[in-house]
């Protein structure tokens, strides 16, 4: 039997309490239990994590790379959302 029947899982690891889970890579496994165990063996051999999420890759929805320019355009044009857009006289403190 082929391992191609095994779904691809994306692995996210929280390296320590207080930080986000971060994507570290992917692996193939027949189910979530084995995906978690494999993720532990492959991605945390040196105490890199205290918590692991695995998500089937097929469950991830992503933005379209070809539409990225128009998709993110609303944010690129609003420079007044950044503090550096505003002029404040010299000498003004704590701002």
């Amino acid at each position: 039997m082929s391992t191609n029947e095994w779904p691809l899982w994306e692995v996210f690891i929280r390296s320590k309490q207080g930080l986000n889970h971060k994507h570290v890579g992917s692996l193939r496994a027949p189910d979530a239990t084995l995906a978690l165990e494999n993720a532990r063996d492959v991605y945390t051999r040196r105490s890199e994590g205290i918590s692991i999420w695995v998500v089937e890759s097929a469950q991830i929805h992503a933005t379209d790379i070809d539409e990225a320019a128009s998709f993110f355009e609303p944010s690129d044009t609003k420079i007044y959302r950044h503090p550096t857009f505003y002029e404040v006289p010299d000498g003004v403190k704590h701002m």
């Binding site: 039997m1 391992t3 191609n4 095994w6 890579g25 992917s26 027949p30 189910d31 051999r45 992503a62």
Partner: protein, 312 residues
């Protein structure tokens, strides 16, 4: 957008040091070069476990055994990072592995040499992992994102591989005359194959120019080989081992060590499958896949059964 326009934009991104990610447009040849290079790299990690795995039960003490076990386990992990990177290019993992088993895909020729003595294990860590690290550090900045990220992780883990090998040789070289002789013998057998790990000379290398232009490679085979020789000579001196090359000499004008021409006939013979262990290595990989089939089948069946129970 025309093909030419897409290619121009692609090269522009590369020139501006913007990484290429899986869903980005890329020339077919870029994709093929990456599939070939990354899969070859992945296979090397996996086949590389064989000569060392053979010594796990024969390690001279518990410390060395635990270290070797950890190193071999790392190599398995490195193979997986790289197989995942190949998969992002749209090839199936099964196909990638089968290409190794049918002989279509290559792996590093160094693993077609046998590990005959315990000193070989230290020497493999020092020279073979040392040469691999020289290559891999350069690849951390390769233009394809998933490959670069895999290399960063691998480099972080590999530095212990070289150090444990060197430490083991320090012990042997300060031991009995027999132990020292065993280390020198390992050096004599592994020096040239280690230099061959960097691949054919730049004049002979078919893929080099384009790979440099696409920033898949950052340095040529000969540049990396020279860096390795320059870094290794002093390390050999500290061990008190002689590098088996009468022409090895510091060249003040070049600022590098000169060394003899590699025996390229031997190199191509081993690449073509006629090295001392080519057949044995492939047979071991095929056997591992076949013998492990029932484990994968059982895991699949168990997952299906559990999913059915859940939905019932």
């Amino acid at each position: 957008m025309t093909q030419a326009e897409q290619e121009r934009r692609f090269q522009e991104k590369i020139d501006r040091e913007i990484k290429i990610e899986p869903n980005d447009w890329m020339p077919d040849e870029y994709r093929q070069t990456l599939v070939r290079q990354i899969s070859q790299h992945a296979h090397s990690e996996i086949v590389g476990m064989l000569p060392e795995g053979n010594w796990i039960t024969r390690a001279p003490n518990l410390r060395r055994k635990a270290v070797l076990l950890a190193k071999v386990q790392d190599e398995a992990g490195h193979g997986l990072y790289l197989y995942s990177a190949v998969e992002t290019l749209g090839t199936s993992r099964e196909q990638t592995i089968d290409d190794l088993h049918t002989g279509k895909a290559k792996y590093s020729s160094i693993f077609n040499y046998p590990a005959l003595t315990w000193a070989d294990i230290g020497t493999i860590g020092w020279l073979v992992d040392g040469a691999a690290i020289m290559n891999q550090v350069a690849l951390c900045r390769t233009s394809y994102g998933p490959y670069a990220r895999a290399m960063v992780k691998i480099c972080k883990e590999e530095s212990f591989h070289q150090r444990q090998g060197y430490e083991s040789l320090i012990k042997l070289c300060s031991g009995t005359p027999q132990q020292k002789a065993m280390a020198q013998d390992a050096m004599n057998r592994f020096w040239w194959p280690a230099l061959m790990m960097f691949g054919p000379s730049d004049a002979e290398s078919t893929h080099s120019d384009q790979s440099i232009k696409w920033k898949i490679k950052r340095f040529t085979n000969d540049e990396l080989r020279q860096s390795f020789v320059d870094a290794t000579v002093a390390q050999a001196e500290i061990l008190g081992l002689t590098i088996p090359d009468p022409n090895l000499k510091w060249n003040e004008a070049r600022g590098h060590y000169d060394f003899s021409e590699i025996n390229w006939d031997e190199f191509w013979q081993v690449v073509k499958g006629n090295g001392p262990c080519n057949k044995e290595r492939l047979a071991a990989r095929i056997k591992a896949k076949e013998d492990g089939a029932w484990v994968r089948d059982a895991a699949t069946a168990f997952a299906k059964k559990r999913a059915m129970k859940k939905s019932a």
